[in-house]
């Protein structure tokens, strides 16, 4: 089977986000960018399915500016066979990305699409579910275990209070949670090899998708700062403060 793995280029998770002084957006100038960590887990899972003989081909996809090529090369260094960039400098919101991915899925006809449960920049947690809806496919979000057997995907999901396991008919969409796997480090030979793997570029127009944003960001602000409190000398003072000052116990 063929697996499609959408990946997003985001601010590296170690960088602290800062709001631009005009309050319009997060300042991304000269900031380290990386693959969204949940998408890295998705690439790893797809590559493991290929190594296990379940999948024949892993295709990485990214929607965004030309710089996303770098993210796609990272996906290929982990083990994706080829990549597709849907290039656009426009702001792409989750619904637009889901539509672009739907158009690609119609062309590529994968049996499985695996992607991160959320991107760590906009924290939307929407794209996978939207894509599944547009395709009319079943979905398993927040996956912590994936088994493909007898033409079904058996997926264990992290839900409030515990775990649940679903059996999905294929084709299907799976979104990854943190504990699905630990992505490998791309080795230098694999990074070199990834440079030679095919990377096609398309545009939203070529896919016939309107990517007009539906949401307008009016303002981005820092949250109210929480001031540091005091250091207490010992447990006795802590208990005294909690009882008499904070009155919470």
């Amino acid at each position: 089977m063929k697996i499609l793995v959408p990946v997003k280029r985001v601010m590296d998770y170690n960088v602290k986000a800062r709001v631009k002084s005009d309050g319009s957006e997060i300042d991304l100038a000269n900031v380290k960018m990386s693959m969204n960590p949940f998408d890295e887990i998705a690439v790893e899972e797809a590559v493991r399915l290929k190594e296990a003989g379940v999948a024949k081909e892993v295709v990485a996809v990214s929607c965004g500016a030309a710089a996303c090529q770098e993210t796609l090369r990272t996906a290929m260094a982990i083990g994706a066979d080829r990549a597709i960039l849907v290039e656009s400098d426009a702001e792409l919101q989750p619904l637009a990305v889901a539509k672009l991915l739907k158009a690609l899925a119609d062309k590529e006809a994968p049996q499985l699409i695996v992607l991160g449960k959320q991107a760590i920049d906009d924290d939307s947690n929407q794209t996978g579910q939207m894509l599944a809806a547009l395709l009319g496919w079943p979905q398993a979000t927040f996956a912590s275990k994936v088994v493909i057997a007898d033409g079904k995907a058996i997926v264990t999901r992290e839900i409030d209070g515990g775990l649940e396991t679903l059996a999905l008919g294929l084709p299907a969409v799976i979104t990854t949670d943190l504990r699905l796997n630990e992505p490998r480090y791309a080795t230098l030979p694999n990074i070199m090899k990834a440079k030679k793997k095919p990377l096609d570029t398309l545009t939203p127009a070529a896919l016939g998708v309107d990517v007009q944003p539906r949401l307008t960001t009016l303002k981005v602000a820092e949250p109210p700062k929480r001031g540091a409190g005091i250091k207490v000398a010992d447990v006795a003072q802590l208990v005294e403060k909690l009882k008499n000052e904070a009155k919470v116990i």
């Binding site: 601010m11 809806a133 979000t141 839900i159 250091k231």
Partner: protein, 310 residues
């Protein structure tokens, strides 16, 4: 304007997260309806009808709604959508799983995880792990919104007398079946609804220590137990204890962080707590920058002392 709120429940009990979502609906204004979709969930519909401020409960009772699959719930919500200006769900794993599917089927955007309502089109939501708050305005006819429960004080579960209307079921998608579910049973309060949370990090060293050191403190305070991602990744406790950007978001009256350094991802899940206590042996741990009361001490001594003193 009429607002539909998806009820969170387990076919027997309405979950408190529903009350926070109704609170957000009240801020939007207009008439509020609650959708109860499940199987054998008449009792839940009656509980929903008692919520203060709710005008009508729509009940869809069918076997294929029993497991709350996104496919079947989304189809049902879409069948009702034409009557509503806004469709809300709490940002629980069920709400997050289902609502984007509804949005895509209606060809509208979703506004995820709102913490404030500016007006009927404009909402505030955290981005970048809560390091920024974005104010966003929707141009869509129907607003699909998930509600961060800690952003809105729960409305009263009693005092309402909504009518209950049984609505037609949509067809079973037949695409998904439940294999099994493991829900941890605990005598302690639920993490996201608890007034006090005792949370542990990597500093505890092991799963045994986590339970032996923190368990008595949680018992004494009647607290829920939480954990940092580091503690979950180290295998001390299951992932549903995790507080943080990608775990649970909590805002209790009192949050006691024990052996937690305070990574950005963790702070994103607890910094709206009313009072934060940090116990850590490292005086430079970032957790002290948000703690109201910091105690620099060896947790293995300080926590038992604390248990004895309260």
């Amino acid at each position: 304007m009429t607002v539909l709120v998806l009820a969170e429940h387990d076919n027997a009990q309405l979950k408190p997260a529903t009350l926070n979502a109704v609170a957000a609906a009240l801020r939007i204004g207009g008439e509020i309806h609650v959708l109860v979709a499940g199987s054998g969930c008449q009792a839940v519909a009656a509980q929903a009808a008692a919520i203060a401020g709710v005008a009508r409960v729509k009940l869809a009772d069918a076997p294929h709604y029993a497991e709350f699959t996104a496919e079947n719930q989304a189809a049902l919500i879409v069948s009702q959508a034409a009557a509503y200006s806004h469709i809300l769900a709490p940002s629980t794993s069920n709400g997050k799983n289902t609502l984007p599917r509804v949005a895509a089927l209606l060809d509208v955007a979703q506004i995820s995880d709102i913490v404030a309502v500016v007006d009927g089109d404009t909402f505030v939501r955290p981005i970048y792990a809560g390091n920024a708050l974005a104010t966003v305005k929707s141009a869509d006819a129907t607003k699909i919104v998930t509600v961060r429960t800690t952003g809105f004080d729960a409305v009263s579960a009693t005092g309402g007398s909504a009518s209950i209307e049984t609505i037609a079921s949509t067809a079973d998608s037949g695409q998904v079946s439940l294999v099994g579910r493991e829900i941890a049973k605990s005598e302690r309060p639920e993490l996201t609804a608890a007034k006090i949370v005792v949370s542990g990090g990597r500093g505890l060293g092991s799963g045994e220590n986590y339970l032996q050191v923190l368990g008595p403190l949680a018992d004494k305070l009647g607290a829920a137990m939480g954990a940092s991602r580091a503690a979950v990744d180290a295998g001390f406790i299951p992932n549903d204890y995790q507080v943080g950007q990608t775990g649970k978001i909590v805002a209790p009256q009192l949050y006691i962080a024990v052996g937690i350094s305070g990574a950005i991802q963790h702070l994103a899940g607890m910094k709206d707590s009313k009072v934060i206590v940090a116990i850590n042996k490292d005086p430079d741990a970032p957790i002290f920058q948000v703690a109201d009361y910091g105690l620099v001490a060896d947790l293995f001594q300080a926590v038992p002392e604390l248990v004895a003193a309260i």
